[in-house]
């Protein structure tokens, strides 16, 4: 087939979308011919899609009859880039996948490499990881809460949420020097111990956060508009959710208490006492309530991790994978050699494959790493929960109002950086 100059197959495919198919085609109702469905394009640049998500929606009046998500607008080839970098230099690029939960991306990747290289992570590093992971979960949930309630028309809660998120980012800045994409987790532990004053500031946060979360609850749980928009809208039962691979708060909202922190504890999560909030029917209200309740549980975990923070090294003493302490470089020839080897070539990882799943704020985040024995990974693949959960959007919203679709996209909490990678 010859292509007229200037018109690509893609462009012709776009022009071939039938904009007003007869109603009977999809619903089996209507007098074929006169009544028709309206196809509208929603996004990719739309403030309510939480990123560059494009939805092709077929509407019958105000009711969504068919929905197709179209993704790939922020695909940046991070997985390909990772294959060209030595193991420890991959951490900053994978952190940029799901840009609201960077600690989780780093944790999944480091965990997979540690499994392959059989690196022991010291207890203090595990606890520090838990503290930062849970802080990150709170920060991610705060952005979710702020933006999704913003989609429902309330502005003030967004400002409150960002105010609290600022406290978390200040803590990240204290421990790592960066507010986002901190590169704090390293293979074998964390890059630096927490500085003096961090614990005090963290305690202040632990004190203030539950009170602030109470305030959010007081504002939202008594708000008639929010309740009417969330209660009973777009439910998805647990069985269907499991078939679609949905995990995380969306699955827990449907009443299935699956949480990898409890089910298959990693990084010492079994040392802490916390509860898994679950919903009952899996509608938008349950999704909202589950995430809001998770903020309290995360605070509880941080508190216990800070109280029980063990003494000891913050990174493995295996010099083959972790940089030697700075002061050793001046006195020890071996340290200098190890430092040089790590910075130039990196470390080699035995041949093999590993899959390391963790519970991110959005569900099961699994990192698959294949090593071919060299100093660079042969394949890095993230099973991103947003990517898989997005498939549940269409079963959730079909047959409901377009306004509920906006609320459901918000409650789905998709992060397009994680979806497109």
């Amino acid at each position: 087939m010859s292509t007229p100059p200037g018109v690509s197959d893609y462009r012709r495919g776009e022009q071939g979308i039938e904009l007003s198919p007869p109603l009977a085609q999809l619903t089996g109702r209507g007098d074929d011919g006169r009544e028709e469905l309206l196809t509208i394009n929603f996004g990719p640049h739309h403030p309510a899609t939480h990123g560059v998500l494009r939805l092709l929606v077929r509407l019958e009046g105000e009711i969504v009859r068919e929905l197709k998500p179209i993704i790939g607008y922020v695909h940046t080839g991070i997985e390909k880039t990772a294959e060209d970098k030595s193991y420890w230099k991959v951490i900053p690029v994978v952190e940029r996948m799901d840009y609201l939960s960077y600690y989780f991306n780093a944790m999944a990747y480091c965990g997979a490499v540690e499994t392959l290289a059989q690196v022991e992570v010291p207890p203090r590093a595990q606890y520090l990881r838990v503290i930062h992971l849970e802080l990150n979960r709170i920060a991610s949930h705060l952005i979710w809460l702020g933006t999704s309630i913003l989609d429902l028309g309330a502005t003030s809660i967004f400002l409150y949420c960002l105010r609290e998120r600022e406290l978390v980012l200040d803590l990240f800045e204290m421990s790592s020097g960066q507010r986002m994409h901190t590169r704090y987790f390293q293979v074998g532990g964390v890059i630096e111990d927490i500085p003096t004053g961090f614990a005090k500031k963290l305690r202040e946060f632990i004190d203030v956060m539950p009170k602030r979360a109470d305030e959010y609850g007081a504002i939202l749980n008594a708000n008639e508009i929010v309740l009417q928009r969330l209660r009973g809208t777009c439910p998805l039962d647990a069985e269907r959710a499991l078939a679609l691979g949905v995990t995380g708060p969306l699955l827990r909202a449907a009443g299935n208490p699956w949480d990898l922190r409890k089910a298959a504890p990693y990084s010492s999560y079994d040392h802490f006492d916390f509860k898994i909030p679950v919903g009952t029917v899996g509608d938008n209200y349950d999704r909202y309530a589950c995430r809001l309740a998770e903020i309290y549980e995360s605070v509880k975990i941080i508190e216990q991790a800070l109280e029980g923070l063990p003494e000891g090294p913050h990174i493995t003493s295996d010099r083959k994978v972790a940089l030697p302490p700075r002061h050793e470089l001046a006195t020890s020839m071996e340290a200098l050699i190890h430092h040089f080897k790590l910075v130039t070539e990196g470390f080699r990882v035995p041949e093999g494959e590993a899959y390391y799943p963790i519970e991110s704020p959005r569900g099961e985040l699994g990192c698959f790493v294949r090593s071919d024995g060299s100093a660079k990974p042969a394949r890095v693949h993230m099973r991103d929960p947003s990517f898989v959960n997005l498939q549940a959007l269409s079963p959730m919203v079909e047959g409901s109002y377009i306004a509920d679709m906006i609320a459901t996209v918000a409650m789905l909490d998709p992060i397009l950086g994680g979806i497109d990678r």
Binding site: D9, H75, T115, G245, E353, A354, G366, R370, H381, R383
Partner: protein, 171 residues
């Protein structure tokens, strides 16, 4: 994870469909005949591994058969994971899709996006997939970028100039 003995037992039940078994770093992997992939997953579903957690594509270049599709299965009741791997050569990169319902019973709708991603990145065609299109790369993209012999860089950057001009320059 099923331990090494458990893996042997599962392998024995599946018979000729299993080409190889490996147990590495507490992770049990079954290498299976690509033609039997649906039957194997269905059998494992009967053993409790009901949740298909992830589908990855891998390029084993320079080893043959080059392309691998890896299915991570999860048993939520006994919190157990097993990995199923099917390998296909690049010149016959075809596998049965596990997304739709088929003769072996219900499908795994969760594989829809993930199989599309494997097709997009590695060029493995999934027979019977309900929506066999690219997912992350543009629809008119040529090549499968995650293959190991696909070069990094050197390709025109899309959307940086007028599309018509770009097509002219390419021809």
């Amino acid at each position: 994870m099923p331990d090494a003995t458990g893996l042997e037992l599962i392998g024995k039940e599946l018979g000729a469909a299993v080409l190889d078994k490996s147990f590495f770093r507490e992770r049990a992997t079954l290498d299976v005949d690509p033609a039997a992939i649906r039957a194997v997953l269905e059998h494992l579903r009967g053993k409790g591994f009901e949740f298909l957690a992830s589908v990855h594509g891998v390029d084993y270049y320079p080893h043959e058969p080059r392309l691998g599709v890896i299915y991570e299965l999860l048993d939520m009741r006994s919190v157990d994971r097993i990995t199923v791997r099917a390998r296909v050569p690049t010149d016959a990169a075809e596998l049965d899709s596990v997304t739709p319902d088929g003769e072996h019973g219900a499908g795994w709708p969760t594989a829809n996006h993930q199989e599309r991603e494997v097709y997009d990145m590695f060029g493995v065609v999934f027979r019977g997939h309900p929506d066999p299109r690219r997912i992350l790369m543009p629809e008119d993209y040529e090549g499968h970028p995650q293959r190991r012999d696909f070069p990094v860089g050197g390709e025109p950057v899309l959307f940086t100039r007028d599309e018509a001009q770009w097509l002219e320059r390419r021809e």
